[in-house]
């Protein structure tokens, strides 16, 4: 076996691929061979390391130096300087993101190191290599569960960890599992909701691309806990790379006896199937997702019965989000007490946020629950781009709420945000600077809802259409003052009478936009 002196990690994800990561990788491998370093330097593919908008990203270990915006033309210089002569190429080093997730604390003297639970392996291991996941402690959770814990023990552990579902609603995961275990049934299913469609959210994609085995392990543990027999990953059709990687991960896990009959020689059998979605936002709602899995139009179902009682093909079904499931193996391995050490009292653990819009460094950040909005934007997101001032943020995607400047000190967790009639939702934070037209922002959100309303119930179908007419008029300065009241009135009715969360949640962006930026709307209407 060769002793490798340097490891070069290249992030291969949808974001870097579009910036030409493959060309850089090819050039890198060729140059390393050319310089005769191929026995001393290894090039490894890895998932996203959480920086977007900075082109192709490389990390060189053991130094832990991050290079951004690397092009094939930079490669000869980089190889010669850093890998041959041992002098880091300062020109390309990523410097302006000192407090971001991935930059090693030794290098930058971090004030605050970001805890990583869900994204622990993302950007450090090769997501297409099961051995690397195992070497990083992977599948220890399921082994521990199978050898030392009963199903009830597992549910109790998750319950005591205080984990709240990360899909948006923040329902206690342990409680859901408890319902599932208590529901009788010879066949039970575990569904992973990977139909990530909330605008501005791409955390699930990066987990799937960066660490697919973590999701499989989470589903296995969930399956064992609720006596499940089969698992389904319902994933957006547009996420080609995620689909490829999770499918490969399933095949590899099966080959290792981690999926299929008698897993790790126990009595537990479980297998997972991937199902591609076909482009419908409403399918992120769990009952609509189940309908879609059954091969039908993705209309939401009546609740109750909840899926936990009668879900897929009428059988008890547990539906959990990707990020929720990605927490499971770590909780099992390290214990509920350890997990509770992160986050706030009512909301434990970490949350993966996507920061985008007018910030200096858009990207992905995993931070403790209860971190303030200000810290997320200014510490992790590098502040507002081009020295502008902060005007507001849309938190939680389209079905989320606008927050104004006086909300910068709000603690970001499920429980706390609810008190301000906002929602953490999917964890998307779209930051807007002083130049942003809020009427136009709301217009884009409402157009989105109109497009995605599935048409099943009247309040949402007609409500979204009316809202779009009104906001278009307001944006074109053709509306009256009463139209603004009408806007609120319609969303109020929709909240009370819509069939599913899609229609019910429109009230959040509308009422919050009017709460913080009413002047802007008023200046567009005639009295």
């Amino acid at each position: 076996m060769n002793i490798v002196r340097n490891h070069v990690l290249i992030s291969i994800d949808a974001g870097t691929l579009m910036s030409g990561a493959r060309a850089v990788e090819d050039a890198l491998v060729k140059e390393i061979v050319k310089q005769g370093l191929d026995k001393e330097v290894s090039v490894l593919e890895t998932g996203s390391i959480g920086i977007t908008g900075r082109g192709v990203i490389l990390v060189v270990y053991p130094e832990g130096i991050y290079y951004a915006d690397v092009t094939p033309d930079d490669v000869p210089e980089l190889v010669e300087e850093h890998l041959l002569k041992g002098r880091p190429l300062t020109r390309l080093i990523l410097t302006e993101t000192p407090k971001r997730t991935i930059i090693t604390k030794e290098k930058t003297g971090l004030l605050k190191e970001q805890p990583r639970i869900v994204l622990k392996n993302c950007g450090f291991i090769d997501p297409e290599n099961i051995d690397e996941y195992i070497a990083a402690g992977g599948y220890e959770g399921i082994a521990k569960v199978l050898q030392t814990m009963t199903s009830e023990d597992v549910v109790a552990e998750i319950k005591s960890s205080g984990l709240l579902g990360r899909g948006g609603a923040g329902f206690p995961t342990g409680m859901k599992w408890d319902f599932a275990i208590k529901t009788p049934g010879d066949e039970k299913f575990v569904i992973c909701n990977a139909d990530e469609g909330e605008p501005g959210t791409f955390k699930d994609r990066l987990i799937l691309e960066g660490d697919p085995h973590k999701l499989i392990e989470g589903m296995l543990i969930a399956g064992y806990a609720i006596h499940g027999t089969r698992g389904f990953v319902y994933i957006r059709g547009e996420y080609s790379l995620s689909i490829e990687r999770i499918e490969k991960a399933i095949l590899d896990a099966r080959a290792y006896g981690l999926l299929g009959k008698n897993i790790l020689e126990s009595n537990f059998s479980f297998d997972i199937v991937v199902m591609k979605g076909a482009g419908a936002y409403v399918c992120g709602e769990e009952t609509a997702l189940i309908e879609s899995l059954e091969g039908k139009r993705g209309h939401p179902r009546n609740k109750p019965p909840f899926p936990i009682n009668a879900g897929l093909w009428g059988k008890p079904t547990l539906v959990n989000n990707v990020e929720t499931l990605a927490n499971i193996s770590e909780i099992i391995r390290n214990g509920a007490e350890w997990y509770k050490g992160y986050g706030t009292e009512k909301c434990s653990g970490t949350k993966v946020f996507t920061i985008l819009g007018h910030v200096a460094t858009p990207g992905l950040v995993e931070t403790e629950m209860g971190t303030t909005l200000k810290d997320i934007i200014f510490e992790y997101g590098g502040g507002i781009k081009n020295g502008k001032t902060f005007k507001g943020a849309l938190v939680g995607g389209a079905a989320g709420a606008f927050l104004g400047p006086d909300m910068l000190n709000v603690k970001m967790d499920f429980v706390n945000l609810k008190e301000y009639s906002a929602a953490l939702g999917s964890g998307a934070i779209l930051v807007m600077n002083e130049d942003t037209d809020m009427v136009d922002m709301l217009k884009s959100v409402l157009h989105f809802f109109k497009h995605e309303s599935c048409g099943h119930c009247v309040p949402c179908r007609l409500g979204t259409a009316r809202l779009v007419e009104l906001i278009d008029d307001i944006a074109a300065s053709k509306a009256k003052k009463e139209d603004i009241d009408q806007l609120l009135e319609i969303t109020r009715v929709m909240k009370d009478s819509s069939f599913c969360p899609l229609g019910q949640s429109v009230t959040l962006p509308v009422s919050s936009a009017l709460k913080y930026f009413k002047n802007e709307f008023m200046s567009r209407v005639t009295s």
């Binding site: 579009m18 605008p199 591609k276 076909a278 482009g279 139009r297 985008l356 819009g357 884009s444 989105f448």
Partner: protein, 165 residues
């Protein structure tokens, strides 16, 4: 199989694909719940969902044709009209909207002389919009087939599209 129509080359090609479709959907035979998977395969094969393919799927999977149509019309991913050889999808998610996705779309429509949901006359490109594809850090984003392009400025646009024959 039915007689081939020799007047229209495109059609002949399409007819030739049906045995392949049969083969691809064999595993879903008699399983109505796997309709969406079968439709995905058919659309991959033909580039859209011709009526005849819908009928074949309906029959093999044992799903009424009305249900098949209902499912197709519900999901934005499926199309019943022929698509171009390449699909250009402009993201109009919130982040892309803020960074000028709308202008990008207008530019695409103008340069290709076509509208959203339509195909150019030479069947080279189809133009569509897409909801957030999670490339928000690189907004505005455009998806051509399976490739994502970020920070698409109108000047860069035609260079990108030109790469797709």
């Amino acid at each position: 199989m039915s007689a081939k129509n020799h007047c229209n080359c495109a059609r002949v090609d399409e007819e030739d694909l049906y045995p392949k479709l049969e083969e691809m959907i064999a595993q879903h035979k008699g399983k109505p719940t796997e309709l969406i998977m079968a439709l995905h395969k058919a659309q991959n094969l033909f580039g859209y969902l011709p009526k005849k393919a819908q009928e074949l799927i309906s029959e093999r999977l044992n799903v009424p044709i009305s249900t098949v149509c209902g499912v197709i019309s519900f999901y934005s991913f499926f199309s019943t009209v022929p698509k171009g050889r390449h699909t250009v999808k402009v993201c109009l998610g919130t982040a892309c909207y803020v960074r000028g996705g709308q202008q990008t779309l207008k530019k695409v429509e103008k340069e290709l002389n076509t509208k959203v949901g339509s195909t150019t006359e030479d069947r080279r490109y189809s133009v569509d919009i897409v909801r957030c594809i999670g490339a928000c850090g690189l907004a505005p984003a455009v998806l051509v087939d399976k490739d994502v392009y970020g920070r698409v400025k109108s000047t860069k646009l035609m260079d990108i599209l030109g790469k797709y024959e």
